[in-house]
Subunit: 276 residues, 3 copies
């Protein structure tokens, strides 16, 4: 289905988060988990973090979305179990396959997840998405490698679309420009600043913001477009304010700007373009 994103939908999507305050269950790494919780609260949703196997069923039952981030690879049983439970309960799942390609074990876990569960959204940088696409990728830890940065917007959009069809998911490829695609549509988001990679957790927080939008709104493609743009705008405004102070203040201001986000700010700064 061809789709058109309309800028003024942001108002409703943002309000739905604030009105419903969806519970966003995170199974995530121990590095940025506090940032994820604060980002979720800042945008108006409610976070819960647990990977305790025996309570996954109960917790997912009261959740509106599940975010799975494999960053520290320390909750593998939960990575594999929770999405299946969420699928059975129609709770949408966001997958953040951090460091895909960086180790055989990560690839094995991700493959297992993709075979056994359905994801509403899969979000990664180009290295990670290429790794998932089975295209040889050079991964340097959790950051994108230099070689992968040269893949063009159109080519990236096509890879994303193909992957979206394969996994029946919205695919997000983060980078200088971000690509958000389903099987028929691809959008380019040009918000954000390079400085966002000077702190840890911006990618993880993006997944939390995604979980917040998707937990409160039924349209996953539009939710993803708005979520990714929202995160980028918060980064731009934080950078404007703190670029001469440093990365500690940038991190604080990023959360500040997420907590102050509204449709006026969004509509003023959002840079969203349809690719096809």
């Amino acid at each position: 289905m061809k789709r058109e994103y309309t800028m003024n939908s942001s108002k409703q999507f943002l309000e739905n988060i604030k009105n419903k305050s969806p519970l966003v269950h995170h199974i995530t790494n121990y590095v940025t988990v506090n940032d994820c919780a604060n980002a979720t609260l800042a945008i108006g949703a409610s976070p819960i973090m647990t990977a305790q196997i025996e309570e996954l069923e109960d917790i997912i039952s009261i959740s509106s979305a599940l975010v799975v981030n494999i960053g520290t690879m320390d909750k593998i049983e939960a990575f594999l179990t929770a999405p299946k439970i969420a699928n059975a309960k129609n709770v949408p799942v966001i997958l953040d396959p951090v460091g895909a390609g960086a180790s055989k074990k990560r690839n094995e876990v991700i493959e297992n997840m993709l075979i056994n569960s359905k994801f509403a959204v899969i979000k990664g940088n180009l290295s990670e998405i290429l790794s998932i696409a089975g295209i040889s990728a050079n991964t340097k830890g959790v950051d994108v490698s230099e070689d992968d940065k040269n893949t063009g917007i159109m080519k990236t959009s096509q890879i994303a679309t193909k992957l979206a069809k394969t996994y029946n998911s919205v695919i997000i490829v983060t980078g200088k420009d971000d690509i958000v695609a389903d099987e028929n549509n691809a959008y380019k988001i040009s918000n954000g600043v390079a400085y966002m990679s000077k702190i840890t957790g911006t990618g993880c927080m993006s997944a939390s913001i995604l979980g917040s939008f998707i937990g409160a709104n039924e349209d996953y493609l539009t939710s993803s477009i708005i979520a990714i743009s929202t995160m980028g705008i918060a980064g731009e405004l934080a950078y404007e304010k703190t670029k001469n102070i440093g990365s500690g203040s940038f991190r604080v201001s990023l959360i500040d700007n997420l907590s102050m986000m509204n449709e006026k700010i969004f509509e003023k700064y959002a840079k969203i373009e349809k690719i096809f």
Copy 2:
């Protein structure tokens, strides 16, 4: 025993923390553990975090208080073992039963803890305390549910007092107003702002502040009153300073205000009222 809280006791209680710098052992969740450590340091105590079973005995031996927070439910063996060791060594234990009622597993763990160990203080929001009291509670993750907010101050105080008698603990029920009770006395603390729930960790940090006061002072009821009021005052002052900036700055300012707390600020802002 009937008790009267006198405002000017805050000076001695705060000074005792700074002079003794009690070691507060935390067995806590991985979401807000950094906030807990910084809150503990800010008020003048010294934090240590470990749930490694084989060293619990040694660590508790050098600690002045133990805080057990079950938030992420990932250290169940330590939740059950550490309070027993602390009891044997006369180290007071603070229980923060995060998300009580949210899963059968949590309830089972909490029940096990309450049967086998004694707690100096049990602190929770109304849903959590009602869950412990065995009164049907509607728990939505780790936040209090709407239905429970209507329970009145007097009724809450009576529930707290009854629970205090059952478990021989000081019971703290957090909310718009906080209730601190032992088996004969109940106090209402009216410090704090709603915005404190806009960041993660304010409840967990309260438990750390409790551990700091109780680790340095023998009177648990007065310690609890001052600790809860201290946390609320820090929240009020932080909100005044950052309400137009955002939740990232609020979080930073909350720690700032804990680190600057003294008896003058306390006596100026504390709102403590005896219920019975």
Copy 3:
């Protein structure tokens, strides 16, 4: 070999981090892990955190340095395994034996590590280093105890040098003044402020900064001198800015100052003195 540190080497050492952006693998505690990641990024390196045994080989293969911090004692198998892998791959390892002496289990783990692996740098406060040296030390949790503070600079330097020879490592003893020593040389670094112990993580972040310098530079002694001085300078500048605000702002400013560090700031503030 006798060595002379020359101040103007800081330019090259700092630039090497920014140019190479070394991947610094951390196996560390869950309390300050976020601070470690942000400190690593602030100075220009790239952090990765994982203790998943099956992927250690792959991750260490792409890393330029490994930092092992035993703070929360929850990754013992990785503490023991990772340094061996790193040794086999010539990846330098920094050991931060947090709380050495605080429990028998910690001592056992540290002894096991020291017997089976080689460390490029071992960094601890005086209690921890004395514990490693097998000299009776009074450890109070993770902070240095009062009794140990009286050991003089010369005596500390001699202990460090002896330990450096035993373990073929650079030894760092942190304190009011910090000592950096190899088997023939000892330097005193007089940067830093006492207020750094008012927040959690400054010691852990120092190890991350060490990992960043050592991952990008081959001279471990000079790297250690510059790293420890860098951290102290960032603390001094942060304290100047925030001493009347509080410890939350101090923590933010510390990261700010790490991210703004350059050779001009370094050369202006560094206080480095050769002991022998």
